[in-house]
């Protein structure tokens, strides 16, 4: 074979091998977390490992629509994950544990299924004191509530209860206004207890509203409103009426969008709860709502938020949910 022929052949072969090999090599060394809508698999990978106090650098990209990224129970701003673009984010964890990361953009019907975990190992930088039995479990567990039991009330107010009107009446009443009392009782239970007094029905509801108001500060209501708008309104609707942008689709998709269940567990998809419905809402105590938010609605489209919201965030959110029932201001 002539030298020129040999060199040509080597050149062509090297070109083919190089054009395949070089990009593949560098591609394999560029770890990326891909976001797809949940129907196409959600996050990939969806389990990430990290160590305490070691910065974790993540490169995120979307393969379809705009997604968002945030880690639950962590004080961080969510970042947008754009199609074809790469978002860099560095996280540092100071406690070991399993953290949940999730999509923060309403990317599709099963948006809330877009979750993954970051497994952080190591020992915490400053060990916290051991928690007591009461602190370790959420209130609804301590109270042993059955959060799936129906909690409809037999009586509803004829008009929206006003906290302002109730405040004056409440000052003269021998009732418990503490946080513990508020959290463990439904508005109807308090209303019922107030039947011992000489107040009219509408006055009793106003007192209930004032107790609910006295147990939250404006900041927590505002914070709860923000959490609601970002995380809940997609299904439950901006005005709490259960008519969010996904509500119709959820109802239409029915079983199809549910995880596979068999036998008696095979429940129908339920439509998102209407927080404007007093029959349901006034029968729910904050502790009961805490349970529902923490655990989610098993067999419904309601996700579990326990791995994402902090306890404080959940109480803020609950305070906001009651604002669909009670008038807090004039």
């Amino acid at each position: 074979m002539k030298r020129s022929e040999l060199i040509s052949r080597i050149l062509i072969t090297a070109t083919i091998v190089g054009a395949v090999g070089a990009p593949l090599y560098f591609w394999s060394r560029t770890p990326l977390i891909h976001a797809h809508i949940a129907e196409d698999g959600g996050w990939s990978p969806d389990v990430i490992k990290a160590n305490v106090n070691e910065p974790l650098n993540l490169k995120l990209t979307s393969d379809d629509v705009v997604h968002g990224f945030a880690v639950g129970q962590m004080d961080m701003q969510s970042v947008d994950v754009l199609p074809g673009k790469v978002t860099d984010i560095t996280l540092t964890f100071d406690k070991p544990g399993i953290y949940t990361f999730f999509c923060t953009r309403w990317c599709g019907l099963n948006h809330w299924r877009m979750r993954g975990t970051i497994e952080v190992s190591g020992s915490p930088s400053d060990p916290e004191p051991a928690l007591s039995e009461v602190e370790r479990f959420p209130l609804y567990v301590t109270l042993d509530l059955d959060i799936d039991a129906p909690h409809n009330v037999p009586v509803i107010p004829s008009s929206q209860p006003s906290a302002i009107s109730g405040e004056e009446l409440a000052t003269n009443l021998p009732i418990d206004q503490s946080t513990d009392y508020y959290r463990s009782h439904s508005p109807y239970q308090v209303f019922d207890e107030l039947s011992r007094t000489s107040l009219t029905e509408i006055q009793r509801w106003d007192v209930v509203a004032s107790i609910w108001k006295s147990n939250m500060i404006p900041e927590s209501l505002a914070n709860g409103g923000q959490l609601y708008a970002q995380n809940c309104a997609a299904c439950h609707g901006e005005n709490g009426a259960g008519d969010g942008v996904f509500a119709d689709d959820l109802a239409a998709s029915g079983e199809a969008s549910m995880q596979t269940m068999t036998g008696t567990d095979n429940m129908m998809m339920q439509t998102p709860v209407d927080f404007n419905d007093p029959t349901r809402m006034l029968g729910a105590s904050p502790a009961l709502l805490q349970g529902k938010i923490l655990r989610g609605g098993m067999g419904t489209g309601m996700p579990m938020w326990g791995s994402i919201f902090t306890e404080e965030q959940i109480w803020d959110l609950i305070a906001f949910l009651y604002s669909f029932q009670f008038e807090y201001h004039n």
Partner: protein, 443 residues
């Protein structure tokens, strides 16, 4: 006719005669081609951030339709890397002189397929899926790979470049439109070819291979099937091959009489109009139908697409030339008058391509730095912002192309009508109406 022989310039002649400059270009383009396949398969599925979409369907397409085809005819075929691996296999070498005994099967291409109907079909196959093909890196990667492997496969079964000549979906229209280009490969003196012993330009010799495009250069009257591979310049023992600069659309003076070529003109004309309507038009339902391959809406779209190309456009055209005192059969008049649609179609494609090329050209800058769309920044331009270019001149340039195309097609129609002794009025009216429709679709 005035021609300037470029091969008189010794630099050009030597550069074409030597195999090395072409081989160097082949290797670079092959690397780009393979990289495009790879990027399509492993890179970001977001088309606008993937080399395979941005460099194939925006950069390459722009160069092809706005520069290569109008000015160099089959210039792209001269450097296209697709036949390279197959020919190495077929010839048993890259540069070495051909073997006495051919490798592999080396069959003749079947006679009934010696036309461009297969290319018409392969183009239509891609055209019907184009909305998806042009935006999905995966599919683009697969199609590019399939073309490469088809070319390799055909090289082992048939002689010469069967894929390029009879199957390549792009080669069909490049050939058709190359007739308008101001460049040609022709022989200098016919007598030399008549008396030439052994015809090494067709049969090959120690100096090079017989025409890979299965063309006898001595008989060349139009550019359509000459791939500008320059093999005959290397093999001609009499230095009788020239590359000429010539006036635009020279080949169209002698109208074709072939139905496959006539329909190619309709296919290209119709698909440019349909694309302008579907991809750039305001009709969401059409766009959805074109994107949702496999749905019933898409089937309706496909049927309409094919009906426009094979029934409506040719039907109207045939109706226009039906009544004529001419004695030539309708089929022949149809084929030769359709020649007028070649410049019209080319300029339709230029006008249509201008809009999406100028709109999307800025993606090239970002894709250069991050070709796989996975966060690289090779040249610091990965974050270049998408911005339509030259927006102010877009509409005037499109109008100019379309009106220019109409005038060009009218002149071609007149020549073709003289040739067949018929009237060109109905053809010009046909072109005029289509140009109005295209103007309305684009502007």
């Amino acid at each position: 006719m005035n021609r300037i022989e470029l091969t008189r310039i010794s630099f050009i002649k030597n550069a074409l005669k030597s195999r090395y400059p072409q081989l160097a270009v082949f290797i670079v383009v092959l690397a780009g081609y393979i990289f495009a396949i790879l990027a399509g398969l492993v890179g970001s599925p977001v088309g606008s951030h993937n080399f395979s979409i941005v460099f194939v369907w925006i950069a390459w397409w722009a160069v092809l339709i706005l520069v290569a085809v109008p000015f160099f005819g089959r210039g792209w075929c001269a450097v296209c890397p697709i036949p390279l691996p197959g020919e190495w296999l077929q010839r048993g070498g890259v540069l070495s002189p051909p073997h006495k005994k051919p490798n592999w099967l080396n069959l003749r291409w079947p006679k009934f397929l010696r036309n461009i109907w297969l290319q018409n079909i392969s183009f239509l196959l891609l055209a019907l899926f184009s909305s998806v093909l042009l935006t999905t890196p995966n599919i683009t990667g697969i199609v590019l790979a399939a073309m490469l492997f088809a070319a390799i496969g055909l090289s082992t079964v048939f002689e010469r470049r069967a894929f390029c000549r009879y199957l390549c979906p792009v080669g069909g229209f490049i050939g058709l439109y190359s007739q308008t280009a101001p460049i040609e490969l022709r022989i200098k003196d016919k007598q030399v070819c008549v008396t030439c012993d052994g015809k090494p330009c067709y049969n090959g010799s120690q100096a090079g291979y017989g025409c890979p495009w299965d063309v006898f250069p001595g008989g060349l009257t139009k550019n359509t099937y000459c791939g500008l591979c320059m093999e005959c310049i290397r093999t001609c023992p009499h230095d009788n091959i020239a590359i000429n600069l010539r006036p635009f659309s020279t080949d169209l003076a002698k109208p074709s009489t072939r139905m496959d070529e006539a329909f190619k003109a309709f296919i290209m004309l119709g698909s440019a109009m349909i694309y302008a309507g579907v991809l750039l038009g305001p009709w969401g339902a059409f766009k959805d139908a074109a994107y949702n391959v496999g749905t019933s809406a898409w089937f309706i779209y496909a049927v309409i697409f094919l009906a426009i190309i094979f029934v409506i456009l040719p039907g109207l055209f045939a109706l226009g030339i039906l009544k004529s005192k001419n004695t030539l059969p309708l089929k022949q008049r149809f084929a030769s008058l359709a020649t007028a649609l070649i410049p019209l179609g080319l300029m339709f494609w230029v006008a249509f391509s201008l809009s999406f090329v100028l709109t999307n050209a800025s993606y090239i800058i970002a894709a250069l730095s991050d070709p796989l769309g996975i966060g690289w920044n090779l040249f610091g331009t990965a974050n270049a912002i998408w911005q339509p270019m030259l927006t102010t001149i877009l509409a005037p340039a499109q109008t100019l192309s379309l009106v220019g195309g109409l005038i060009w097609s009218a002149r071609t129609a007149q020549k073709a009508a003289n040739e067949t002794r018929t009237s060109s009025i109905s053809v010009i009216a046909f072109s005029f109406i289509l140009t109005l429709v295209m103007l309305w679709l684009l502007l």
